[in-house]
């Protein structure tokens, strides 16, 4: 298992490097969508570690993304000149910025993980949502981070290679973690916390660990996003962004990495497809707003999915059993 995933990781990294060479020939619109897909894969896979594998329903992933985006952007803006403008210098700086963003987000993850020890289910969902709002609120009031105006001027360092190599790394880390002997603790916490604790599993450690690792990768995704769009705004990391990521995880199936990746791809393309559909001449005018507002469809999808197939489109029987 480990060996095979290592080879897959290597193949994925090499493939993204190879495709990256031809990135100049990709239509900018499609390139934009491709990068968004990569970033969403990182976000959804890392959230899946928390929501899917560990069973801690988090509704604040965009908050961690914001922490990473602002952390890395701030580092780039404040210290970007230190290593010079050579290719090696900017790349090193970019990697440093992404790591810093990830670490800041991980710290935020630690802060959220600790209350999660005492809370479960819906309470935890609300607290993570609250943390998302708090992170947003802090940024909105932080002058050095542009406050309400947003923050811009980072170089566009994010490219195809970095996005997909890091996406592959995220998938690799999450998969190996949950399939290792050590990581079966995550699944045990999800399946039955009380039984896991009785078996001597340190549930506290696993829950916090899931939050910290999940937040780290969300922060990296935020850094990639900041250095791709070159402008970030607190409202870009609101509750609805968190819901976007949660929908990917639920649609793909909580605890199914392949499903979640597929859902991330699908749900990144879907709004674009709908937008194109909205401009088709044959579409009745009254339906145009529905096509343009993806959330109407997403929300219906969520409700119908939960009633008919709560394990998601591709998930195994993750959400059954306990009637708590």
């Amino acid at each position: 298992m480990i060996e095979r995933t290592k080879i897959l990781l290597l193949v994925a990294v090499l493939a993204s490097a190879a495709i990256s060479l031809f990135a100049g020939q990709i239509n900018p619109y499609y390139y934009d969508i491709l990068i968004s897909i990569g970033i969403n894969i990182i976000l959804a896979t890392s959230l899946n570690l928390v929501n899917g594998y560990t069973g801690q329903f988090s509704l604040g992933h965009a908050g961690f993304m914001a922490a990473g985006a602002y952390g890395s952007a701030w580092l780039s803006l404040a210290f970007g000149y230190v290593l010079g403008t050579s290719a090696a210098g900017t790349t090193t700086m970019f990697v440093l910025a992404l790591t810093t963003g990830g670490l800041i987000a991980a710290l935020a993850g630690l802060a959220v993980g600790i209350p999660s020890l005492r809370l479960r289910g819906d309470y935890l969902a609300i607290v993570t949502l609250g943390f998302n709002e708090i992170i947003k609120g802090v940024i909105q009031n932080a002058e050095p981070l542009g406050a309400q105006r947003g923050l811009g001027g980072m170089g566009q360092h994010t490219n195809f290679f970095w996005t997909f190599a890091l996406a592959a790394l995220t998938v690799y880390v999450v998969l190996n973690l949950v399939h290792s002997t050590y990581g079966s603790g995550f699944l045990a916490v999800r399946d039955d916390e009380i039984a896991a604790e009785a078996m001597g599993i340190n549930t506290t450690k696993y829950k916090v660990l899931a939050f910290v690792i999940g937040a780290f990768f969300a922060g990296v995704a935020g850094g990639l996003y900041a250095h791709f769009k070159q402008f970030i705004h607190p409202e870009g990391f609101n509750f609805l962004r968190s819901v976007d990521i949660v929908v990917m995880v639920i649609l793909g199936g909580m605890g199914s990495t392949a499903g979640v990746i597929l859902a991330a791809i699908l749900l990144t393309i879907l709004p674009e497809g709908l937008r194109a559909l909205a401009h088709q001449p044959w579409l009745p005018d009254s339906l145009r707003p529905i096509a343009e507002n993806r959330m109407i469809l997403y929300s219906l999808l969520l409700i119908i999915l939960m009633i008919t197939r709560p394990q998601g489109l591709f998930g195994g029987p993750g959400l059954k059993r306990r009637k708590a």
């Binding site: 809370l119 819906d122 609300i126 708090i134």
Partner: protein
Amino acid sequence: MIEFLQQLINGLAQGSIYALIALGYTMVFGVLRFINFAHGDVFMLGAFAGLYTAPSLLKLCGGGPSFPGAAAVLLAAMLICAVIGILIEKLCYRPLRDRPRLTVLITAIGVSLFLENAGQYAFGADPQSFPEIITDRALEIPESWGALSALTLTVGQLLVFGVTFFLLIGLRAIVRHTRTGMAMRALSFNPVAASLMGVNTDVVISFTFGLGSALAGAAGILTSIQQPSIDPLMGINIGLKAFVAAVLGGIGNIPGAALGGILIGLLEALVVGYINPSYRDAIVFGVLILILLVKPSGLLGKPEREKV
């Protein structure tokens, strides 16, 4: 001192609104043990129900803004919201009655997003001005009251206090002195035993949703008469704050929800008045996290032991 009193009045008015919405969260939690995420959006629907029924109801009550007209709009919004609440429960939550709580929570988030976005589609995304169902003006406080005459108290605020007080008394009477109220209490005490004793669970749950949604509808009208415009996303923030209020008071506890709502309203007013308005939301959520860490059962709630 006068400024402090003024903030208290403003906080009390906003807190009454939170209290009315928090009651819906807490009652539904009492009987079903889940957080009805869509409750804040029912509040929004109440405001829009008022927007659409006001012109014809005002005409029926003699034309311009008047107390009977406002009362009619209030009742209409409460009725419409009660029906919507019952429908939401029947269509979305009832099929999931025996599923894990997480499934129901995700569905509730779905319902909430649906109401917000379908609302943008149906009502338009731009803010709309709410019809004047009652003339909202500042009351004259007589000079003889001395320094107190510097206070501003509006008709809208007075109406909020009056209606909230009346509704709270009514709710208390329903919960404590009617058979359905007794069934509600039985259900939240022990669902299995209640149904063994002949309580019709489905009817009681529907009734609870209807009651909670009617209160949210009333809150929607009371908010709309005080602010210039309403929009389909107005329920998100207020709904979340009301939820915090319900948790603060002890979720599942009816007097707790009212107390929590008023405390959150006062806290907000003080933050706005003395600290910095832009920290308002962050501080309210900070309170939520604090209360969940220190006393998860809330101010008036009893700690619940988890059974294996």
